[in-house]
C-alpha cells in the first residue's frame, strides 16, 4: 500500500475538483452579486433649480401648492416622479418667503395644507405640521423639508434636491 504521507490519486482528484470548482464559483459568484446590487449602488444624485413662476402670483400668508415633475432614466425607461412644494409668503418682501416640501418626513406620504386648522396634515398616520413646517403632533421625526429659494426678476425658483 502507498505511504500515508503520499497524496493518493483519489485525494488529488478531489482536491483538484474542489479547487477548480471554487475558482469557477468565485468567477461567477462575485460578478453575480455585483450584477444584482448594481442598480442599488449606482445612485443618481440630482439637484436643479425649478422656477415656480412670478412671486406676485402667490397670495400673502396663504400657502399654495406648486406641483412639478422630474424625469430621469431608470434602466430601460424614463421614470416620471411628481413633487409638490408649498409656497408661503409671510411678508411683502422678496426674501420673506418659505417653501416647504409636501413630503411627510415620516414615511413620504403627501401632506395637505388645511386652512381651517392652520395645519399641514398627513392622512397616513395623522401627522401634523404647523405653518412653519414644525411637527405639532403625530409620528413625523423632523420638520417639513424647506427648499432653498431664489427670486430673480420677480420669478421665484426653488432648489430641487433628490432626497
Amino acid at each position: 500500500m502507498a505511504d500515508s504521507h503520499q497524496v493518493q490519486r483519489r485525494d488529488f482528484v478531489n482536491i483538484v475538483l474542489v479547487g477548480i470548482g471554487s475558482v469557477i464559483g468565485l468567477i461567477i459568484g462575485i460578478p453575480a452579486i455585483a450584477y444584482l446590487l448594481s442598480p442599488a449602488v449606482k445612485v443618481q444624485k440630482e439637484e436643479a433649480w425649478i422656477p415656480l413662476g412670478p412671486l406676485d402670483a402667490y397670495p400673502l400668508d396663504d400657502p399654495k401648492l406648486f406641483s412639478y415633475t422630474r424625469t430621469k432614466i431608470n434602466g430601460w425607461e424614463k421614470t416620471v416622479n411628481s413633487y409638490g412644494a408649498y409656497v408661503w409668503r409671510y411678508g411683502e418682501g422678496e426674501s420673506e418667503i418659505k417653501v416647504y416640501s409636501n413630503r411627510c418626513t415620516h414615511l413620504s406620504c403627501r401632506v395637505t395644507w388645511t386652512e381651517e386648522t392652520n395645519i399641514y396634515f398627513c392622512p397616513c398616520h395623522d401627522g401634523r405640521f404647523n405653518k412653519e413646517g414644525e411637527v405639532v403632533a403625530g409620528p413625523p421625526p423632523e420638520p417639513l423639508f424647506e427648499f432653498e429659494t431664489m427670486v430673480e426678476e420677480g420669478v421665484l425658483s426653488i432648489k430641487h434636491l433628490e432626497v
Binding site: I28, P31, A32, A34, Y35, L36, L37, S38, P39, V41, G75, W76, E77
Partner: protein, 220 residues
C-alpha cells in the same frame, strides 16, 4: 467539529450513501468522449443560473426587450459577463449535446438495456435545440426578428397542418408581442421543466445501469 457535524447530518440524511451511489460508481475504463454528458449537464446548470440572473432585468415586450438588453450590456455591472456566458453557453451546449449524441450512436451505447436512456436523450437534444430557437428571438433585434420569421415560416411549410403550426408558434398570423411573450415563456418555463425532468430520468438510468464500455475493435 466539522467531522461531528458531517456525521450527525450523514446519520440522518444518508449523504455518504448518496455520494457513493452517484460519484463512486464503478465505471469501465473509458476515454474523454465519455465526459460529454457531464459537460452538457454542467452547461445546462450554467445556462439555468445565468438565465435566472438575466430575468432580473430582461422584459419580454417588443417596446422594452431591446432596451432592457442594452441596459444589461451597458448599465448593469457585469451584465455583459452574465449575458456573454448565457450567449456562448447556449452555442456550446448545442455542440456538446450533439457530439454526445454522436458518441452514443457510434459507440452503440444506445443498445440494450439503455434504450430509454437514448430516447430521453433524443428528446433532450430536441429540447436543447428548442431552447436555442426560442432564446434567439428574445433580444428582439433585426437578426432575432428575421430568424424567427423564417424559422416559423419553415414550420409553416409542413403539408396540411403547416399553416396551423405557424399560427400556434407565432400566436397568430404575425410575429408580434404575443410571439415574444410565448417564446419567452417556453424558454424559461416549459422547456426547462421538460429538460430537468428528462435529465432526472436520464441520470437515474445512468446510475442504475452504469455506463457502457468502449466497444472493442472487431477482428477480421
Amino acid at each position: 467539529m466539522t467531522a461531528r457535524v458531517v456525521s450527525w447530518l450523514d446519520e440522518r440524511l444518508g449523504l455518504t450513501s448518496i455520494y457513493n451511489l452517484v460519484f463512486d460508481r464503478k465505471v469501465p475504463k473509458v476515454n474523454w468522449w465519455f465526459t460529454l454528458g457531464s459537460a452538457s449537464l454542467f452547461l445546462f446548470i450554467m445556462q439555468g443560473v445565468t438565465g435566472v440572473f438575466l430575468s432580473v432585468y430582461y422584459v419580454p415586450d417588443p417596446s422594452k426587450a431591446y432596451d432592457s438588453i442594452q441596459y444589461i450590456m451597458t448599465g448593469v455591472t457585469f451584465g455583459w459577463l452574465i449575458r456573454g456566458i448565457h450567449h456562448w453557453g447556449a452555442t456550446l451546449m448545442v455542440i456538446f449535446v450533439f457530439i454526445h449524441m454522436l458518441r452514443t450512436f457510434f459507440m452503440g451505447a444506445y443498445k440494450f438495456p439503455r434504450e430509454i436512456t437514448w430516447l430521453t436523450g433524443v428528446i433532450l437534444l430536441l429540447a436543447t435545440l428548442g431552447m436555442g430557437f426560442t432564446g434567439y428571438l428574445l433580444p428582439w433585434n433585426q437578426r432575432a426578428y428575421w430568424a424567427t420569421t423564417v424559422g416559423t415560416a419553415i414550420a409553416g411549410t409542413a403539408p396540411v397542418i403547416g399553416d396551423f403550426i405557424l399560427r400556434v408558434l407565432r400566436g397568430g398570423n404575425d410575429l408580434s408581442a404575443v410571439t415574444l411573450a410565448r417564446f419567452f415563456s417556453v424558454h424559461i418555463w416549459f422547456l426547462p421543466v421538460v429538460i430537468i425532468g428528462l435529465i432526472s430520468v436520464h441520470m437515474y438510468l445512468i446510475i442504475r445501469l452504469g455506463i457502457s464500455s468502449v466497444p472493442k475493435e472487431e477482428e477480421g
